[in-house]
Structures are given as structure tokens and as C-alpha cells.
């Protein structure tokens, strides 16, 4: 508990300092005509103040709980999390280039094989069903404009 809080407090404190500096760059203006940086600056101060409080709390706080189970996942878990993040990011970048159906299909195959590996035919089958089915639901049924990639779908 304690060390985690300490880390987050320090991160937030650093952030607040950066925000205040940035805000000053935008100009604070005066009280009667607040400038662009006025509000962010105040927020920076607030966050800084609160994170200092949190730091004080954490220092004082429950060192005993340190030995408690670490919330961080093991190497397996970490790989899975990264994989999903990468897959989703890739989806975002490729969606307009490859078109909805293809990108969705790829995503599903990746997720079904990569996270908790399913048999190939299952993965492909569900992926196909998902991409075509959702296409029908969204594009045809709800008339949402889904991007068509170079293949025209």
C-alpha cells in the first residue's frame, strides 16, 4: 500500500509541476480577464497540494502491508496485457486502411489465439462470424458508416 501510494504521489506531483510550468507559458492573465493558463495553473496547484498530502500519508502509513500480495501480474499476465493493447492500437491504425471487415477479422483471430489459445478452426470460425455478423448489424442494420479499406469492405 505504502510504496504504491508513494510512487503515484510522486508521479502526480511531477505532473502537477509540469502542468504549472506549461500553464505559465500560456499566460495567466488577470483576475478580471483570466488567461488561457489560469485554470490549468490552479488545477496544477491543487493536484500538487493533494499529492504532497498523499505523500505525507503514505510515509506515515501502513508499512506492514508491504508484504501483501503484489497486485502486479506475472510475466504471463504482462504479456497478455501488452498483447491486447498492441492489438487494439493496431486496430486503430489499420481500420481505415484495411476496412472494417478485414481488420475486425484479424483482431478476433489475434485475440482468440493470443490470449487464451483456442483451436485454429474455432478461432477462425468465430472471427469470421463476428466480423461479418457485426458488419451486418452495424452497417446494414444500424446504418453506421464503417470504413471500407482498399478491398472495398
Amino acid at each position: 500500500m505504502g510504496s504504491r501510494d508513494r510512487i503515484s504521489a510522486i508521479v502526480l506531483l511531477t505532473l502537477s509541476v509540469m502542468v504549472c510550468i506549461g500553464a505559465l507559458g500560456y499566460g495567466l492573465g488577470t483576475f478580471s480577464t483570466p488567461g488561457t493558463g489560469f485554470f490549468p495553473f490552479l488545477l496544477g496547484i491543487l493536484i500538487g497540494f493533494l499529492s504532497i498530502l498523499m505523500l505525507a500519508h503514505a510515509k506515515r502509513g501502513e508499512e506492514v502491508k508491504e508484504s501483501a500480495k503484489s497486485p502486479w501480474p506475472g510475466i504471463e499476465g504482462r504479456k497478455k496485457v501488452l498483447a491486447i493493447v498492441a492489438a487494439l492500437g493496431g486496430y486503430g491504425f489499420l481500420l481505415e486502411k484495411l476496412g472494417y471487415s478485414l481488420t475486425t477479422f484479424l483482431l478476433f483471430v489475434l485475440l482468440l489465439k493470443g490470449i487464451q489459445p483456442q483451436k485454429w478452426y474455432l478461432a477462425m470460425g468465430v472471427a469470421l462470424l463476428a466480423s461479418l455478423g457485426s458488419y451486418a448489424l452495424f452497417q446494414v442494420g444500424l446504418q453506421v458508416e464503417l470504413p471500407r479499406g482498399f478491398l472495398g469492405m
Binding site: 480577464t33 490549468p40 497486485p71 485475440l111 490470449i115 446504418q143 464503417l146
Partner: protein, 497 residues
């Protein structure tokens, strides 16, 4: 007596077979839209607008309104089942609703949600009919200083959300507000903290943030474990709320109705603020506040009732003055214009059939929604039985399509993924995402209100304290803050001593 006459007239209009059908179609579609994260009522209403040109204006508006408040019913479904709020007004429902689902109590959560929404909606409608004019005038009295004070008060309440420490909640709210400050400054046109990304010029979108923090963050946290471990308790305990659930929900539903009804009239943030005001109130007066955040049914009953009551009363500024209190009703106004009806203060006088017809149709619509949603509870609960391996890609897909469909801009997808990571980290470091979202939503409203107020007062800060409503709100807000400090100090003294 004249009121009765109007109501009967309204029912005549609303109860024609054609209009009943349109109403049904509207609320059905609305529920579906609400369930699908991201695909909002705005998009649907806009898409359907041209189609409605072939039917009468009254029928069109009945249907389109149905979509709007139907979506409120549906939005809570995803909040409870998969921790993805359909709208900002459903965020608070996630806190306890999702926990209930994890405990196998998704059924009661959904059930109470539907029933509370129904009661809240009906009573609120009565209020709309009887009090439309005075309430509209009340809403008008909220100028920039009043908005600022209201939001200030709301943010002090925000720290009551969830289980974590007040300090952390306030930090998250502050962070959320900072994120809300990203974008083009409205008064000067200078882009703030946008790092040159054009998409950020109009600020961080609410939908990518919500779906990222709640939906994706949750999935990332879940997949660490082996997926064979059913994320949702296999034994789905019951479908309907128990007697105890009922008893505990009575009060929250009643209070939620009042809170939602009155706050919903205030254009802009009223309905949203009512949801967490309700949550905070229930937590405050509960005999077991520590249960909040762990699956307390009051945390679902109150806010859900409030948000539906607010959805109904938000029609008041629109019907009485032609002022749309949110984007959805703005689109509705657009539909009116295309149909050749001019919204404004003269709407009631010029088109009484529209005015009364729509209001009475909302009674019918709410009843339909209750009948629709209760049996659906069983269906939704079955959905949770799908193995998580297949469920989570589906949830991800809905989030992806949902976020893309709002602006057809793939950058929003990347933004959502970013927030997904942030949400994941938040959970790891023991922070709550709900206050962050509240800060995000309210940030620009608060800043604009602040600057507008100062321009109006020519630089004097006293404007917040000299106007009666504003002064009252500020006083309460400051009082709440003082309470926190006092309680905090006392706790520390007790701990040290």
C-alpha cells in the same frame, strides 16, 4: 381542470394505433442503442431523421423522444453487466452495479434499475405536466455564477464516490478536470496541451475516455487471470430483486426521483449531476456506508432513478423555451425544424397537439420500457454465461465500433486505448475512475462558467457570493469541504493517539 382537459387531449393524440407503434419502435430502438456502448441516441436520431419526414411531426417526435429516454434504460444495462457505461449518466451505476454482477446479482441490479427508472420517469412526468412553466423559469435563473457554484458543490460531493479515500478521489477529479482542459480555449482560440494533434483541438472526447477507463481497463485487469476462472460467478443467484432489495431501494428511489427531477431541469449538466448527487446522498444517510462500492443496491437504485427522472424533466427547457439542454435534444429540435415546426416559447400555443401528445406518449413509453426490460433481464443475465474468452473480444469490438462511430476518426480509437492503459494503471494503484470522469465532464463547464462570470462582474469575485442561489451553493460546497478536513484531522488524531 384545464390540466385534465389537456391530458385527455394528449392521450387522444398519443394513443392512436400509429403513434403507439411509433412509440414502441422508438423505445425499443432506444433500449438497443443504449445497450450498445458508444452508439448513442444522437447518431441514431440523426440517421432516422430523413425517414421520419414521411410521417407526421407528432409521430416523428414521439418516436425520436422514445429513443432518447429508452437509451437511458439501456445504458445502465451495460454499466451493470460489463462495466461500460453507455452514457456519462450511467457512470455512477457502474460502481455498485458491476460489483453486484460480479457477485452473481446482476438480475436484481438490472431489475431494480428498470423499476426505479420507471417510477422516477412517471413521477417526473407528472411534475413536468404540472410544473413546466415555473420550473422553466427556475432553470433560467441559473446563470454563469450559479453554474460555477453548482459544479463546485458537485465536485466536493464527488469524493463520496466509490470506496477509496477522499484524497484519492479528489486527486482523480482534479486530474479529470485537467484532462478536460485539453483543447482549444474557447475565449482565446489558443490550443492547450494538444501536442499538435488536431483531434484534440476540441478536447478529449468523453466516449473514448469512458470506454477506455471503464471497459478496456476492466478487461485488461481481468485477463491477467486465467480465463477459465469465470469472471462472473457461475451461480447466478437470482433474476428478480429479493424482498430485502426492495425494502432497501424504496428510499433511494423516492429521493432519486426528487433529485433527478429538479436537477434535470438545469440545462447542461443537471441530469448528470443528479446521478452522483443521489449516490452521495444515499451513501451519506445509509446505515451501512461501507457497503457502497462493494455492491450496495442503493447505489444502483438511487442514481438510476435520478437519471431517468432527469431525462424526463430535461424536456422542460426544450418544450417550454426551445432551449435544448443536451446534444440529443438539440438533434430533436433540428428534427422539429425540418418538419416545419418552430421550437420556442410559442410551441405550446401553436402546436398543442405536439406538446401534449409528446408528454403523454412518454407515459406510455415508460410503461412500455418497463414491460420490455424486465423480461430482458433474464436474457442479459444469460449473456454473462458466455465464456469470457469469447465475451471479451466481443466487448472490445463494441467499444471499438462505438467510439469510431461518433466521429469517424480513428484517432479516437487510439485515445480510447490510451485511456484503457490509464484505467488499468489506475486500478493497480488503487484509484477510482469515476471521479476522473466527473472531473472530465464538468471541467470545461466549470471553466467557462468561471470566465463568463468574471467577465460579467468585470473582474470581481464577489459575484459568486452576492447572488442568492450561487451564494447558497457555494456555502454548502465550502461546508462539505470543511467537514472533510475536520473529519480527516480527527481521524489522524485518533490514529496517532
Amino acid at each position: 381542470m384545464e390540466m385534465l382537459h389537456h391530458i385527455l387531449f394528449g392521450f387522444q393524440v398519443a394513443m392512436t394505433p400509429a403513434n403507439l407503434l411509433y412509440c414502441f419502435f422508438g423505445v425499443l430502438l432506444g433500449t438497443l442503442i443504449g445497450v450498445l456502448p458508444g452508439l448513442g441516441p444522437v447518431a441514431t436520431i440523426s440517421i432516422l431523421m430523413p425517414i421520419t419526414l414521411s410521417i407526421s411531426p407528432v409521430s416523428a417526435i414521439i418516436m425520436l423522444s422514445g429513443i432518447y429516454y429508452g437509451a437511458q434504460y439501456g445504458g445502465s444495462t451495460t454499466s451493470i453487466l460489463i462495466n461500460v457505461p453507455g452514457e456519462a449518466t450511467s457512470v455512477v451505476t457502474c460502481i455498485d452495479g458491476y460489483k453486484m454482477a460480479l457477485q452473481g446479482r446482476a438480475g436484481p441490479a438490472l431489475g431494480i434499475s428498470a423499476i426505479g427508472s420507471f417510477i422516477g420517469g412517471m413521477v417526473s412526468l407528472l411534475g413536468v405536466m404540472l410544473l413546466a412553466a415555473p420550473l422553466a423559469n427556475f432553470a433560467l435563473r441559473f446563470g454563469p455564477p450559479e453554474y460555477f457554484s453548482l459544479i463546485f458543490l458537485s465536485l466536493t460531493i464527488v469524493s463520496g464516490l466509490g470506496t477509496g479515500s477522499t484524497l484519492k478521489a479528489l486527486l482523480m477529479a482534479g486530474l479529470g478536470m485537467l484532462t478536460g482542459a485539453i483543447g482549444m480555449d474557447m475565449s482565446t482560440g489558443i490550443p492547450r496541451f494538444t501536442f499538435g494533434i488536431r483531434t484534440l483541438y476540441d478536447g478529449v472526447g468523453l466516449v473514448p475516455a469512458i470506454m477506455g477507463l471503464f471497459g478496456i481497463g476492466e478487461i485488461l485487469t481481468n485477463i491477467e487471470e486465467k480465463l477459465e476462472l469465470d469472471i462472473f460467478k457461475t451461480k447466478i443467484k437470482r433474476i428478480l430483486p429479493s424482498r430485502e432489495d426492495w425494502v432497501r431501494s424504496r428510499g433511494p428511489i423516492g429521493r432519486g426521483t426528487l433529485i433527478g427531477f429538479f436537477l434535470g431541469v438545469i440545462p447542461g449538466g443537471g441530469a448528470l449531476i443528479s446521478t452522483f448527487a443521489s449516490y452521495a446522498v444515499e451513501k451519506k444517510i445509509s446505515r451501512h456506508p461501507e457497503q457502497f462500492g462493494q455492491g450496495a443496491i442503493e447505489g444502483v437504485a438511487g442514481p438510476e432513478t435520478a437519471n431517468n427522472a432527469g431525462a424526463q424533466s430535461s424536456f422542460i427547457p426544450m418544450l417550454a423555451l426551445g432551449i435544448p439542454p443536451n446534444v440529443v435534444l438539440a438533434v430533436l429540435i433540428s428534427a422539429l425544424i425540418i418538419h416545419g415546426i418552430q421550437p420556442g416559447p410559442l410551441l405550446l400555443a401553436k402546436h398543442p397537439d405536439l406538446f401534449w401528445g409528446v408528454i403523454t406518449s412518454m407515459f406510455v413509453g415508460n410503461a412500455m420500457l418497463l414491460i420490455l426490460n424486465l423480461p430482458l433481464v433474464g436474457l442479459w443475465v444469460q449473456l454473462l454465461r458466455v465464456p469470457y474468452t469469447y465475451l471479451f473480444p466481443a466487448i472490445l469490438l463494441f467499444c471499438l465500433v462505438g467510439v469510431y462511430s461518433i466521429t469517424n476518426n480513428y484517432v479516437e480509437i487510439l485515445l480510447m486505448v490510451f485511456f484503457g492503459v490509464v484505467g488499468y494503471l489506475m486500478r493497480k494503484f488503487d484509484f477510482e475512475p469515476a471521479p476522473f470522469v466527473m472531473g472530465l465532464v464538468l471541467s470545461s463547464m466549470m471553466e467557462n462558467a468561471f470566465r463568463q462570470s468574471l467577465t460579467l462582474s468585470e473582474g470581481s469575485m464577489t459575484i459568486f457570493f452576492t447572488r442568492p442561489i450561487s451564494a447558497l451553493l457555494m456555502a454548502v460546497g465550502l461546508g462539505v469541504l470543511v467537514c472533510y478536513v475536520v473529519l480527516g484531522v480527527r481521524k489522524r488524531e485518533r490514529g496517532a493517539g
